[in-house]
């Protein structure tokens, strides 16, 4: 699959699920492989997105991929 297209698909999947379901790297991989990407293509695309700062890893009792945001705990009110 075309790298730019794959990156866009990954980003969209993460973004549309924000607040509803935290996506794990493995969830995204399975979804992208189902769309025709290879595991290697997926890995490279995710790495591009994360190295470029478009997506970040988070850790809440398990590691997830999220759109960068200020976390709740940093807010004294929460």
């Amino acid at each position: 699959m075309d790298a730019a297209e794959l990156q866009k698909k990954i980003y969209t999947l993460v973004e549309t699920n924000m607040g509803k379901k935290k996506m794990k790297s493995g969830d995204l991989k399975k979804a992208m492989v189902a769309e025709g990407a290879t595991e290697e293509e997926f890995k490279a695309a995710l790495r591009e997105l994360v190295d470029g700062g478009k997506l970040v890893y988070s850790y809440f009792g398990g590691s997830f991929i999220e759109v960068p945001h200020t976390e709740g705990s940093a807010n004294p009110q929460q």
Binding site: G26, G53, S58, F60, G62, E71, P76
Partner: protein, 392 residues
């Protein structure tokens, strides 16, 4: 520096013979506002009997999903120095040997950007730098990498592997634990920094069945050195030791397999019955040594209670030769990860997945044959599954 806080309870822990962590925090507090406010918030916890920390989960360095633990306090107005109190995990050298030069360079970096407080080492084995702020993370990363250091693991990834001192100082070691640990760390850098597993995965390497890294209790993959041939005996040293210890009582009678005998001058071992538990060698290191056909037992599944209960690792491969570059070990680990990745749920450790799906699924996926060493005994339960095709 925020206003002075009284810490009567912590002050009490400066007294006594055992080294005091409170003294350490106070040393750091002379230079660091973070360490200073740590005293204040810790005293508050001592009074309230609850923690004042909140879990962060998104801070880190660009590109990595592990190595930084986000932490915030719930009283930031009172203790602004610890409003952010993130931890940085640094991957140590295998075996925890250091030069003073390297240690001091690391101290310089940590004094510049953090509280000056650290754990040597955290439970998994990382150097744990306690207490810094989000905007310091990238500068810390740039400075440590410039000096040849990297972050350790956190999150659903390969955690920093660790090993006992092994061949560097221990004559019991049947495998080169430090080399195995280092090699696996280097081979699996992507898996260590970019969490793609269902949950954490720990590798610990112990050189013998004494298991000084507690691999059996603490690692998903426990690599424990052993040997296959005969214990090497130096009968002259046996005679020497007989003068200072009761070999019959302390060694022969305590042998779990009763494979030894001692007639007052010569020690005999029936190696066919020996299970290589290490007791006799521990007691008589000058006279007894492990054999020469060395390798490791590979075990799987050890973990702490969360979620479904604590597990100790069980046998996967009774004996594996381990020689650099350890491609056989790497291949096995990768197959296990693939199976776990296919079936594991979020926060499900590999041992729990075996519990849920059964050993057979894992053995078939990895191509390992079922062998008697895997079980204490064969099943007693007659509810036996047969796969399609097995019934003809």
């Amino acid at each position: 520096m925020s206003k002075d806080v009284k810490t009567p309870m912590l002050d009490d822990l400066e007294k006594g013979a055992w080294p005091s962590f409170v003294k350490e925090i106070k040393k750091a507090a002379k230079r660091s506002n973070t360490a200073h406010d740590l005293l204040g918030i810790l005293e508050r916890s001592y009074r309230d009997k609850v923690t004042h920390w909140k879990h962060g989960g998104i801070v880190g360095v660009l590109g990595y999903g592990g190595g930084v633990i986000g932490r915030y306090c719930d009283l930031p107005e009172e203790f602004p120095g610890v409003a952010h109190f993130h931890t940085v995990r640094i991957n140590p050298p295998s075996g925890f040997f250091y030069t003073s030069k390297a240690m001091k360079e690391l101290c310089d970096i940590w004094d510049k950007y953090g509280s000056g407080l650290t754990n040597l080492h955290g439970s998994t084995g990382d150097m744990v730098w306690l207490g810094t702020q989000t905007d310091k993370l990238e500068p810390i990363f740039a400075e440590i990498t410039a000096k040849g250091w990297d972050l350790g693991g956190s999150g659903s990834c390969l955690r920093t592997p660790s090993s006992c001192v092994g061949m560097a100082r221990c004559e019991f070691s049947n495998i080169d634990t430090m080399s195995i640990c280092h090699t696996m760390t280097q081979k699996f850098q992507d898996e260590l920094h970019r969490p793609a597993f269902p949950y954490k995965f720990k590798i610990k390497v112990s050189g013998c069945a004494n298991d000084c890294t507690a691999a059996v209790a603490r690692a998903d993959m426990s690599i424990i050195g052993t040997w296959k041939d005969n214990i090497r005996i130096d009968q002259a040293e046996v005679k020497n030791l007989a003068k200072s210890m009761n070999i019959q009582e302390e060694v022969v009678d305590m042998c779990p397999t009763k494979c030894m005998s001692f007639d007052g001058s010569t020690l005999k071992i029936n190696d066919k019955d020996c299970n290589r538990c290490m007791h006799c060698i521990n007691r008589m290191p000058k006279a007894l040594r492990p054999g020469k056909e060395k390798g490791a037992t590979i075990m799987l599944g050890g973990k702490a209670p969360i979620v479904t209960g604590a597990l100790m690792s069980w046998v996967l491969v009774p004996f594996m030769k381990l020689e650099a570059p350890y491609d056989n070990l790497e291949a096995l680990i990768r197959k296990l990860w693939e199976w776990w990745d296919d079936h594991g749920k979020n926060r499900e450790r590999i041992g729990e997945l075996v519990d849920r799906m059964g050993m057979r699924s894992m053995l078939e996926a990895t191509g390992l044959p079922p062998v008697p060493q895997m079980v204490k005994a064969p099943r007693t339960n007659p509810y036996v599954f047969w796969a399609p095709g097995e019934v003809k």
